[in-house]
């Protein structure tokens, strides 16, 4: 049993709704547009590029997580796990900035 492949019923309800390729293509287009925007912002100097990275990249990452990595179709437990991970990362950032911002 330990080496067997889990059946769909062992995964929970086993009937996850597939969003269809249309959604994926739309998300992909949005990602391309955001990347273009990021490149554009980098032409207006370093601070503009940094703000672009800080603001646009999380949105892109969220789109990838939510649609391509199926977070949207997962149960609440997995969503909580992702939120805890993000929270941990934010705490690390905050502690790092307690040094960098006050040097």
């Amino acid at each position: 049993m330990s080496d067997s492949i889990l059946t769909s019923s062992e995964h929970g309800d086993g009937s996850i709704a597939h969003p269809g390729y249309g959604t994926f293509v739309k998300v992909w287009i949005a990602l391309v547009v955001l990347t273009g925007l990021l490149v554009l912002m980098s032409h207006f100097g370093q601070s503009s590029a940094v703000w672009g990275l800080l603001l646009i990249t999380p949105v892109k990452a969220w789109l990838v997580f939510y649609f391509f990595m199926h977070l949207k179709y997962e149960g609440p437990l997995l969503k909580v796990v992702v939120l805890v991970t993000l929270g941990t990362l934010l705490i690390f950032f905050a502690l790092l900035f307690s040094d960098v911002a006050f040097r």
Binding site: T88, L95, S98, D99, F102
Partner: protein, 540 residues
């Protein structure tokens, strides 16, 4: 046919598959065999690093100061640190006793991913091989210290890149073990084995596994950046290229401070198993110990910058991290309080594992309290990078994790090998270990307060006496270690057959034969009582 009527499967030490001998061991996915593979390889590395430490102490005697060059001394303390930290103490208890006993303690037949478990050991050996190769190839062994601090590590001509790559591979071993243990505890607990019925060693291993999983990738990426910077000259850490060397220190210690808890938490777990057995009463404050393990794992991940108080951090950061460091002492103190309370009014049976467990508590308290001293900003600035720090972390790592490792080995040895050692020989080895240990490391604390800097090849004449005492202490300590392991090796070959439950323990490993059969249990047990349920306590 009931489970009782079925003949017992052979011991895990017997080859029953198509492969025999060494090949059977190297391809085994049995968690117990993998635990022993770790034990053998880890102890080999441990003795190599002990030998290096002995040489380092020897050259601090004036008469032997020309035995090696200053460059070789730099390489030796680096190699001693890398081997002890990455090859012995970090994998230490989880890889050996976690692998061997975690599944048994929760009533499982193996870990959740047996093949991944074997792969972890291969990653460990690959990393160890690369690290050791780095010592003898390129332009000499790394001379950076085990911390690989930039910008020196970026510019030194020694073989840093290969050593760092070895540490990167070792990180994978740690992460995979962490994933395996978390999944095992979540998915493979026996029926009735609720979270709060698990032996506390499992809680400690569980907390450790989360740190292994979450913190190790940060070190892995940081080490890759060091290699990229050395090979391609990118400027992330190099200040001459606009990089920030303090960023390296932050990233390094974001892993390496929690790594201290990877080292100490399973040790605390093992002590928590030993004390109730030899006091013959349940552990005092089960939930407090379980939650304090999780609290140490959590808060311990937020204190890393206390290693950097003199590096040029902002004052705000220094205050923040000093405060957080004080907070992490609280859950550690809860554990010590509960251990001592467990012994209070217990029926104490003073067997060798208990002797080493009590030694752990005593030495760990010194290590912990000197840690609180170092967390206090004013003291830290005074003794930063002195022998005080070296003494402190040897009290925690060797006096703490090392003694707990020995205690756990003594406790579970009869179960692992089905043989009993000579208790007299172990008692005899304790004296030189304890005396030598304190002569060596307590003297370091004193030397540090007097101003002796760490990692210096030469020292001023006013430190001569302290160094002489420490060096003689190192000889006595090594004598004790030889006696200790000599007794265990003798027991392996000529020891008496051990009983199934020589100590009167009540956790699941004591319900199965010694050594355990393949797949541990004939039938998965159903758990109906708390973890430390001593029947005589009920009567009393």
């Amino acid at each position: 046919m009931s489970a009782q009527d079925t003949p017992l499967p052979p011991s895990y030490l017997v080859d029953t598959g198509s492969r025999k001998g060494l090949l059977a061991w190297l391809t085994s996915t049995d968690h117990k065999r993998i635990g022993l593979l770790y034990l053998a390889s880890m102890l080999t590395f441990f003795f190599v690093a002990v030998g290096i430490g002995l040489v380092m102490r020897l050259v601090q005697l004036t008469a032997f100061s020309h035995l090696i060059t200053a460059e070789t001394y730099n390489a030796l303390f680096t190699v001693h640190g890398v081997i002890m930290v990455f090859l012995f103490v970090v994998p230490g208890l989880p890889a050996v006793f976690g692998n061997f006993f975690l599944p048994i303690l929760i009533g499982a037949k193996d870990v959740a991913f047996p093949r991944l478990n074997l792969a972890s050991w291969y990653f460990y050996m690959a990393g160890a091989t690369v690290v050791i190769t780095a010592l003898f190839t390129g332009h000499g062994a790394p001379d950076t210290g085990w911390t690989f601090y930039v910008p020196f590590s970026l510019h030194t001509g020694t073989n840093v890149s290969l050593a760092v790559f070895g540490a990167f591979l070792l990180g994978f071993s740690s992460m995979l073990t962490g994933i395996n243990f978390i999944t095992t505890i979540h998915r493979l607990r026996a029926p009735g084995m609720h979270w709060f019925r698990m032996p506390l060693f499992c809680w400690a291993t569980y907390s450790t596994a989360w740190i292994q999983l979450l913190a190790t990738p940060i070190l892995a990426i940081t080490l890759v950046l060091v290699i990229l910077e050395r090979v391609f000259g990118i400027g992330i850490f190099d200040p001459t290229k606009g990089g920030d060397p303090l960023l390296y220190e932050h990233l390094f210690w974001i892993y390496s401070h929690p790594a201290v808890y990877i080292m100490i938490l399973p040790a605390m777990g093992a002590i928590t198993e030993i004390l109730p057995t030899f006091a013959q009463r349940p552990i005092f404050g089960y939930k407090a110990i379980a939650f304090s393990s999780m609290a140490i794992a959590g808060v311990g991940s937020l204190v890393w910058a206390h290693h950097m108080f003199t590096s040029g951090l902002s004052q705000f950061a220094v205050m923040t991290f000093s405060l957080l460091t004080m907070i992490v002492a609280v859950p550690s103190a809860i554990k010590v309080f509960n251990w001592v309370s467990t012994l209070y009014k217990g029926s104490i049976d003073f067997q060798p594992p208990l002797l080493f467990a009590l030694t752990f508590i005593f030495l760990f308290c010194i290590g912990g309290l000197t840690g609180v001293m170092l967390g206090a900003l004013a003291v830290n600035v005074h003794v930063h990078d002195t022998y005080f720090v070296v003494g402190h972390f040897h009290y925690v790592m060797f006096g703490g994790t090392g003694m707990a490792f020995f205690a756990a080995l003594l406790y579970w040895f009869p179960k692992m090998f089905g043989k009993m050692y000579s208790k007299k020989a172990i008692y005899a080895s304790w004296f030189p270990i304890f005396i030598g240990f304190n002569m060596l490391y307590f003297t370091m604390l004193v030397l540090g307060v007097m101003g002796m800097p760490r990692r210096y090849f030469h020292h001023l004449p006013r430190f001569d006496t302290g160094h002489d005492i420490a060096t003689v202490g190192s000889w006595i300590l090594v004598l004790g270690l030889v006696m200790f392991f000599g007794a265990l090796v003798h027991a392996l070959f000529k020891g008496e057959k051990a009983e199934d439950n020589p100590w009167g323990g009540v956790t699941l490993e004591w319900t199965i034969p010694s050594p355990p059969p393949q797949e541990n249990f004939q039938e998965i047990p159903t758990i109906t009582t708390e973890a430390y349920h001593f029947p005589q306590e009920e009567i009393g």
